[in-house]
Structure formats: C-alpha cells, structure tokens
Amino acid sequence: MKYIGARLFERELKKGSAELLILSLIERRPRHGYEISKLIEQRSEGLLKFNVASFYPLLYRLEKRGFITGRWVEKEGQRRRRYYQLTAQGKKVLKDQRSCWADFVLAINRITEDEHA
C-alpha cells in the first residue's frame, strides 16, 4: 500500500511540475528535446525521468498553447535538430508558475515541518 501511494504521489508531482521544468530549462537559450529531457534527468539526479511517450506530447502541448516555439536548425557538422525557445507569452507563464511554485513549496514545507516539530 505504502509503495503504490508513493508512486502515485510522485507521478502527480511530476505531471504538475513538468511544464515548469521545461520552461525553466529553455529560459536562457533554445534547446532540443533530447537535451531538455537529459538535463531534467541529470539535474534531478535521476529522480525525474520522462520517456518519449510522455515528454513530447508535453512539448507539443506547450507549443500549441503558444508558450514555446520549435524550429529546425542545422548546425555544421551536426545533424538537423528541432530547437525550442520561450515565446513572450511563455516567459510570462514561466514567471507566474515559478512564483506560484515557490509559494506552494514554502507552504508545503511549513506544514510538513510543523508536523515533524
């Protein structure tokens, strides 16, 4: 029971935070899909991992909603890749989500720490 509960919780958390993760990772510069998914895995030290079937639909949804745009870029000596970057709207959404996340985490921490105390 405990095991299943933790998996479900983790999945919901992943789902809720995935957008924020992707938007954050392309804030400074455009990145391609594989790079983004790799970065998420590395920086979370393997805790967060997306497979193709869940990751690309997320990307395309963000693109459809106008938060990011993808563009095929050919660089010398490299294969053609699709790079994603934030749109103006995406920047605004990222800002909102980020502060919302910070508030949320703060609130959760306060509650869970109180319980421990």
Binding site: G33, Y34, N51, A53, S54, Y56, Y60, R80, R81, R82
Partner: protein, 917 residues
Amino acid sequence: MPDWSKEIHAALERLNLSVAQEASVADELTQHLEDRYDELRREGVDEAEAIRLVRSELGDGRLVAELKGILAPASESISPGNDKRERPFAGLGNDLRYAIRMLRLNPGFAAVAILSLALGIGANTAIFELLDAVLLRTLPVQAPQRLANIEEIHDDRIGSTVARQKNFSFALWQQIQQQQKGFSRTAAWSTERFDLGQGGEARYVDGMWVSGGFFHTLGIQPSTGRLLTESDDYRGCGIRAVVISYPFWQRAFGGRTDAVGSKLSLDGHPFEVVGVTPASFYGLEIGHNFDVAVPLCSEPAIRPEGSWTADTTTWWLDVIARLDDGWTLQKANAQLSSIAPGIFAATLPAGYDAAARKNYLRFSLKAESAATGVSELRAHYADPLRALLAISALVLLLACTNLANLMLARAGARQREIALRLALGASQRRLLRQLLTENILLAMVGATVGLTLAQILGRVLIAFIGNAEDPIFLPLYPDLRVLLFTIGIALLTCLFFGVAPALRAVRVDPGTVMKMNGRGIMAGRQHFLLRRGLIVSQVALSLVLLVAALLFIQTFRNLLTVNAGFRQDGVLVADFDFSPLHIRPSNRAEYKRKLLADVKSTPGVLSAAETTIVPLNGDGWNEFIDIPDRGLSRQLVYFSAVSSGYFQTLQIHMLAGRDLNDGDTATSPHVAIVNEQFAHAYFEDKNPIGKTFEIRQDRGKPNRIYRIVGIVGNTRYRDIHDVPTPLIFVSPYQTDDAGTDSTFVVRSEEDPASLIPSLKNTAARNSPQIVLTFSVLRTSVLQGLTRERLMATLSGVYGTLAAILAMVGVYGIMSYMVIRRSNEMGLRIALGAQRMSVLGIILREATGLVAGGLIAGTAIAIASARSARALLYGINPVDPMTLVVATTALLIIAMAASLLPAIRAASVNPIQVLREE
C-alpha cells in the same frame, strides 16, 4: 540498430496528420530514440537490452493516445481516396477550397456561369417573391390563420355593388353579427376614397370604413394614441374619430405626436385623429395600403343623401371574423348555412318584385380563410404570375443547358487531370463529389447574386403593375419561403447543369486518356450524344418561349388596336362634384345643363357631353327590362345616361334616328337610344325605332315606358376585353333627381390634359367649392391593359433572351463538335472529298438536330399555349401563323449559328491535320 522511424511512422499513421507534420514529428522522435540508444550502448548496455529499453520509451501505444488531442489531423487529401474508411462528408471544406481555387483560375468561365445563373435565378425569384406577396403571405395581425372572410353565395344581385366586389349590405352585416355563433368577433369594413381638399381639384386618400370591432378582431395594437373601438361606432355618431395608418402619419404629419388630437378634413368634414395603426399593418387588401379608417356610423353623416347604411340593395361591406375557440371553419360554415335563410328573409329589399324576392331568398353564406387577406390583385394577377414563373423557369432551364454544355467542355479540358487522379487511386465517387461541389458553389453564388437582383426586379415589376391612379403597395422582402425557393431552384439548377457532365467526366478510362496526347477521349462520335441532346432541348425550349412571346405580344397589340366602337384618344374625363353646394333635387338637372354649357364653351374644348358611365373603366349599371311587343320580360340590359353630344364627342356612329336633346326633360315622354347589338338581340336586326321597352320599378310602382328614338354603333362597355353587349342610352335629365355630380367627357384637338387648367377656372367661376377629378380616357384604358402589357413585355424580353441563348448554345456545341472532328474532316478532304460536301455533312447534322428540337418544341408550345388560353385575346392559342414565324425564326437563327463552324470544318487544311495525326 533498428529503424526507429518505421515504427514511429506506423504509430503516427493512426493520427492522420498532414504529410509535413508527420515527417517532422517522426524525425524528431527518431533522433531522440537514436540518441538514447547510442547513449545506452556507450554505457555498455548490450544491444538486445538497449533495444528493449528504447522501445519501452514509446510507452506501448501511449504516445499516440497522448498526441491525439494535441496534434490536429490534416483535412482529408483530395485526390487519392480510400472509400472504405471515408466518412461521407470528410474533406468537404477542402473540396470547397479547391472549388474556389478552380473558379479563380478560370475567372471568365466563372463570370459567365454565375451571371447566367444569377439572371435566371433572379428572374424566377423576383416573380416568386411577387407571387408570395400576393398569394401566400399571411396578414401581419394576431393569429391570422384564425381569421375568416364571410361571403355571400348569390346569383344576380339587383341593386348596386360598390367599391370592387363587396359582399353585404349594412342590414345583412347587422343580421350576421347578431346571429352567427362560430366566431368570437366579427367586423365589417369597406374601402372608400376621401377628399382631403376643400373644393377645387380633389386630393384623395385611400380610406376604409370599419365597424367598431375591426381592430379588436384583428388583434392590432396602436402605434400611438388609440384605435377605434365599439364605443366609437354607434348609430348617429356623426363626424367624430378617425385612425390613420403609419405611412400616412409619416407622410401627412411627419410622424409628429401632436397628430393625435388634431383635425383631418375628409370630404369636407372635420374628423379628430385618435390614433395611428402599427407600421406593419397595411389593411386587409393585399396590394393596397390605407390612409384613414373611419367608423361605419359616420357614413350617413358624410353621405346625407342616399346613404348606403340605410339601403338594403347596396352591397358595400365585407365581413372579417375570428373563429371562436373550439370552432373550425367547417363547423362555422355549417352554422352560417343554417342561419342564412333567416338572415336573407329578414333583410329582403322592399322594392323587389316576386322574381327578385325568390332569387334573393336563395342566397346563402359561407366563410373562407382570410389568413392571407383579400385581394382583387390576386384574382387578376395569380394566373399571369404563374405563367411568368413558368416562362422564367424555362429561361433558367435554357441557361442551364448552356451551362451544361460549358461544363462538358470544361470536363473535356480537365480530362487529363481527372484521369491522373483516378490513376493515383482516387475513387470515382470521391471525384464526382468534388466536381459537384464546384457546381453547387457556382449555383449558390449565382443564387445569392440572383436574390439581390430579384429585389430590384421585383420593385420594377410592382412599379409596372401599379399606376398613378391605382398605386400598388406590396412590401417585398425575401421571407423564409422565398429563401427556400431560391435555394431549391439553385440546387435543381445544379442538378440540371452539373450532374450529367460530372458523371461523364469521371467515367473515363485513365489509361486511354493518358495515352491520347492532347486529344480527349470525348472525341469519339458516341460521346456527342449528350451534346446532341442539348441542342435538341435548347431549340425546343427556345421555341416554346418564342411562341409564348409572340402570343402575348399579339394579345397586347390586339387589345391596343381593338375597335372599341369609339375614339379613345383626345378625350378628357372631368368629374364635377357639386354636393357641397347643397342644390335642391328639383334644380339639379338645370344646374347640370348649365355646367355642361360652361364646359362646352371653355376655350380648347371641341365638344363635351355628360355621362353616368365612363366607358371601359369598369363601371356598370344594369336593369331588368320588359319588351311587351316582342313578348320578352326580365331581360338584364346595361345602361348609360348620356347628354346630347355624347356620340359626337366619342365619335360613335349614329346609325339611324336622332340624338337625345334638350327637349328630353323630366316631364317629357321617356326616350332612349339603343345600340346595334340591342336591335340584333331583341328585334332580330329589324329597325327598333319607335318601339318601346319598359324598365321595372320598385314593387307597387308601374313600369316606366321608354320609346326608342335612335340606333348607334356597338361600343365596348365596361372592359376592353368584353364583346359588345346590348346597351341602352337614356337621358340623365329625365329624372326627378339628377344627382350631385356630373361626369363629362370632353374632346380637345390638343393634349386632353392641357384642358385641365381652363376647366378648373370654369368650375371655380361657378363655385370654388366644386370638387374636381380629372383623367385622360386613353390613359385609363391603357392602365386597364397593364396585365397584358406586363405579359407582353416580360415574355418578349424572355423570348429574345431565349433566342440569344439558343444561338450561343448551338454555336458553342457545333463549334466544339467540329473541332473534335477536324481530324475526320481533314482525312475526308485528303482522300478527295469536296469542301462543299464537308460543309454539307455538318449542316445536315445541324439541320437534323434543330428539326428534332423544333418538332419537340412545337408539341410543348401547343400544350402550354392551351393552358394559357385565358390570358390571350383575339388569338387562337394554336395559331399556325405564330408557330410558322417562331419555327422559321429559330431555324434561321440555329442555321446561322451552325454555319460558321461548318465553314471552319470545310476549310480545314488536310496537310496540317495529317501531320498532327
């Protein structure tokens, strides 16, 4: 490493993405999987495990499920289609876009097609819109389908019928109101012209007499002020309240609110305006608007002498009624029939003799739905409008056949495109649908333009039907019925011009077409069959239209030139109403003679006479007479009362005897002049001068005996369409009361209208209070021929259009056939055929087709002319001369149209043809 892209493409196929999008997504995902595989291998994972791990990334079909709502499926591709998984309307938007693109690529074709459809559909819609307004549209009142018109079923009525065909006397209306049970409310109404002026030339407004419950029965609310109610309509109410119509309020009062409460002079009597009807309400009579509504009870006050209210032999009222809850028209009719004998017995006119009483007591009552109002226009124009609708439908059909030909030619030009698409796997059904979409688009654009055209055309038609004296008021707007009609004919049209060519276009064998370089498969002779059929039907349709045009034009010409028995031009009709002078009845004949003398001496007047009946304006007066010498009794004969000089003024032939003269007075023996037809009918063409006849008088009074003193030529009496009937002229002065108005016919050498100012002076010298009305006799007669003029003009226009369309059509088809057969002709010439014989081949073929069309057309023309018999005058519906003229004209037109293509065929250069081959 496996080929991931294959797996991804297989998965994505289910999403039905556009080719470009599918490629982009597949590319991106493939790269991802390849990167992942490489990475796993670098990390030392063995190949089988790496493949398993990478494949698991695709999530067992989750990818497609997740992508489904995010990536938009492409609209279906147009050409290669797979019938099995095709939904019936998938890709319709694409078809439409493609159709628009095709039309844009051929602006010339599109313009010709749309314009001819718009003209055809517009003409049809305009006439249907009129038909809708006149025949079908319900009154703009509360629950119009519950309204009924109560009518009298009767034989000959003895007395006066006024203001068009009215049903009831005042006494009858009162009885019906009291005794009927099937209607919750009843109201009586009539129409009347009122003079707004105070002497001088009359300024008429269209008025209605209405009983107090009129507006309540209809369920109408006032636009401002109040409407008339039962409390306004009581016996002896005198001059009190009127309600005005919304248009009159705008016109005469500029829509000012203080109009309510102000005074309005009608026939010299000051009425108070109490309210305005709503803008949507135009009265009960279709085609006519009303200006003022006056309570019935004011009639005796306006017409103190000879009030209709008190007279049981004046039929001047119509009764409108609203069915009570739980009553049907059938049940109400049964109740009316049961009370009718009692009602007619209670209102039996006192003056009737035994025969007239017996006849009157046989009358009965019925109620008919009045949801669409009442209309004289309806009776007069229903048939012509139906005929015009049929004619314009034929024009549309003709335009369709031309379009069908155009479509065939286009299908020929697009053969390679269609063959290519068939070869690539498109189904015939799919291609057919796309071709039909193009046709529907054309038809719909044509219909939209046509609907706009119809609004203009409809207004022109209304202006055509109406005239200054009798303007027609018909609110024209495309209601749901009109819209459905237009859409319906647009779709039908599409069916006619589009389906056969489209079917033909998709039934080709792609292999054969692709092999034929440039030349289409339709060059084969058997494929000309459809085109040959088109020529035959075009010629047939044109012949029908041409015959119709000729028949209607001849009808109009016959009526224009018909010998009415008198000279119509150069005559002014002037009515002098001197009722405001209140002259005593015994002095009126003398006053009238003096007025006539003054009119005669007015500068510019050649001759003048008084008459009670102005010929050909629809008025009539008949009486029962007895001719004891001939043993005849109760003969119904038409009358007119005319002064001396009448026959001279109208230039009617005086055949024998003398004119009426000043010696014929109220105290001298009564004399009369009869026409030839009278002598023929009652005296077997023997000279009737000196013989007598008797006019029956009211019961109890002796018959009045008249001696015939002269015979004149036959004249048309009420209507130019009538044949001459027996007619008696008596003196207007041999009576105790000559009435309070004189109608003069005045002949002038110049334009009769130029007499009006001097006649006004003449009247003013007698008294400025005399009310004057003028009309030019010939103009009024011509206005009576509006219906025929309309038919002649429109059918003439349509006939010409038909001839042009036929010429264009035949030329087009023949040219096409010649071009397609130019190889054959070239070969014939190369093999030694004379050019004349090639010319002969083409012309013979054309003649055969045209002859086929003419034969079919003659049969249709004869059948349709027979059904339009009632609209013709002075011409047999199957008039051989007309048929010969129309047939010859079309033959010449069609041969002229085929000649040029034939010459072209004969002048083909055989060397060039052989080289091309």
